[in-house]
């Protein structure tokens, strides 16, 4: 073989192909929804740890659709929290500062834990506000952003 150019490279056409491995997850989501409704118990599924083939994840997310809520959290890189078109089913996409995916979770819950104000940080809330109040000048420019 004379060089790389002599290797016939054919780009696979169907990036949307689904290998059928996402269907089982949808049934798991259905069970989780029933559990959420009857007992209030939330469920998280790590999609990053599943044996998906090319196209399976895209098929799953397309089927779940897009709901009304999309939030982005900036903490150790961006995390996007998207409610799907199925109420109570959320896609939480954790990325690092370079945009690489750390984990992709399907959360079946009323509100994903990472969106809530963290009780552990409430202990600093009053002190932070007090600091800002002490430097605030009524009618003046805003203090610290």
């Amino acid at each position: 073989m004379s060089g790389l150019s002599s290797i016939p490279v054919r780009v696979a056409a169907d990036g949307d192909a689904c290998h059928g491995n996402a269907l089982a997850i949808l049934h798991e989501v259905r069970h989780a929804l029933e559990r959420l409704i009857s007992t209030g118990e939330a469920t998280r599924i790590d999609l990053h740890a599943l044996p998906f083939g090319a196209g399976d994840e895209a098929w799953l997310t397309a089927l779940l659709g897009t709901g009304e809520v999309l939030a982005t959290i900036e903490a150790l890189g961006p995390t996007s929290v998207q409610e799907t078109a199925i109420p109570g089913v959320w896609l939480v996409d954790y990325r690092n500062a370079e945009g690489q995916r750390l984990a992709l979770h399907l959360e079946v819950t009323c509100i994903p834990a990472i969106l809530r104000t963290q009780c552990r940080e409430l202990d600093t809330a009053v002190a932070t506000l007090d600091t800002r109040l002490s430097t605030a000048t009524p009618g003046g420019s805003h203090p610290l952003s």
């Binding site: 790590d46 990053h48 090319a54 903490a75 150790l76 954790y94 690092n96 690489q100 984990a103």
Partner: protein, 371 residues
């Protein structure tokens, strides 16, 4: 299993992260990434968070013997958390030839100092195999010290040893026939300390960091299989988690690398896939920041995480071809579906072990014929 001693004066990880301006949400995200990295279900995140609140920085000494640096290259390609986080915040990497700034006598002095200061508690990581006690020590030395002497001295004060890569775990390519350097694995030499084998040539980056994260989080080593590999990553075969498995179960196989079956993404068994007898996490953790993995790229698994994969015959020869009734084997899998497929995979594992013992190494001529 032994729980490692922690310095009560040292701050826990959560506190250290908070001091660095990392919010509680950032910490929870870190825990989610850590669970994923440790191959634990998300339901474990609260337990991981509770354990990481108290986690201390273990001292780590990393020795590299007869190796190609592929394992370190793999580690530095890890993306969750970034290796900088891991090395600087989570572990205290006190000695690593390739990554440390110091060289020569200063480097060796740093190793000796760390071994003294953390005697009995440090984690010893080894990549590469080493000439055994009966081999010529001159095949591999560091600062004039034989690999064997350096390993035994470092093991003395180690809490546990992690053998990273198939060379350290099982001998690897340096031990390939006729094994000119008398290479042996870490497990062949270390008998009085827990040894964890993180095999793979190289190991999946997230598996290396996952094992370290497990140690950091829970202060103890993970559960191991018969080859001392962590079950969380090596508990299931490539075949059991392969997305091409439905094709295997239906008996749909690619026969060459560019036929219609290959283009349709069918099973690579007949192209020599060792997935049924290989235990590793590639199928779910994937490579290159989770982008893809060898079988998804259209190449059969070579079995790189298994003992003696280097001398187990041609990479492109189907598992059952050398001695067994291959066609019956495949027909059974194809006709009876997933359940039988699983049984076949299990029997294939036993079979490959037996075959590995009698196979002749493949020659260049044979390889060229196959290609």
């Amino acid at each position: 299993m032994r729980v490692f001693e922690k310095n009560p004066l040292e701050k826990g990880l959560a506190e250290r992260l908070r001091e660095h301006g990392v919010s509680r949400r950032g910490f929870l995200k870190f825990c989610a990434a850590t669970a994923s990295m440790m191959a634990l279900p998300p339901a474990m995140i609260p337990a991981i968070a509770a354990a990481l609140e108290r986690a201390r920085r273990p001292s780590v000494i990393w020795l590299s013997f007869q190796e190609c640096t592929g394992c370190t290259e793999s580690l530095t390609r890890s993306h969750a958390p970034t290796v900088e986080d891991l090395i600087l915040d989570l572990i205290s990497l006190d000695y690593h030839h390739t990554l440390q700034a110091a060289a020569g006598e200063a480097a060796e002095a740093a190793r000796e100092q760390a071994m003294r200061d953390n005697h009995g508690n440090y984690l010893l990581i080894v990549d590469g195999s080493l000439p055994g006690p009966d081999a010529n020590p001159g095949y591999s030395t560091i600062a004039g010290v034989s690999n064997y002497a350096m390993l035994m001295e470092a093991v003395e004060g180690a809490a546990a040893v992690i053998a990273v890569g198939t060379c350290a775990a099982f001998g690897g390519l340096p031990a390939a026939a006729p094994n000119p350097t008398g290479a042996v694995s870490v497990m062949d030499l270390v008998k009085d300390r827990p040894v964890v084998n993180v095999s793979g040539c190289p190991p999946v980056p997230m598996v290396i960091t996952g094992v370290l994260a497990h140690f950091l989080t829970f202060g103890r080593l993970p559960e191991l299989d018969e080859y001392h590999r962590p079950l969380a990553f090596f508990g299931q075969s490539i075949h059991d988690r392969c997305y091409r498995r439905p094709f295997y179960d239906k008996g749909l196989f690619a026969e060459t690398f560019d036929d219609a079956g290959a283009r349709a993404g069918w099973c690579l068994y007949r192209l020599g896939c060792k997935g049924p007898s290989t235990y590793n996490a590639c199928a779910t953790m994937r490579w290159n920041s989770g982008t893809s993995w060898p079988i998804e790229a259209g190449h059969p698994c070579l079995g790189c995480a298994e003992p003696r994969f280097w001398d187990a015959g041609g990479f492109y020869v189907p598992l059952s071809v050398p001695t067994g009734p291959a066609q019956d084997y495949l027909l059974a899998a194809g006709a009876l579906g997933a359940v039988v497929g699983g049984v076949v995979a299990t029997s294939a594992r036993g079979r490959v072990k037996a075959e590995a013992a009698v196979r002749q190494p493949v020659t260049v001529e044979e390889l060229e014929q196959k290609l």
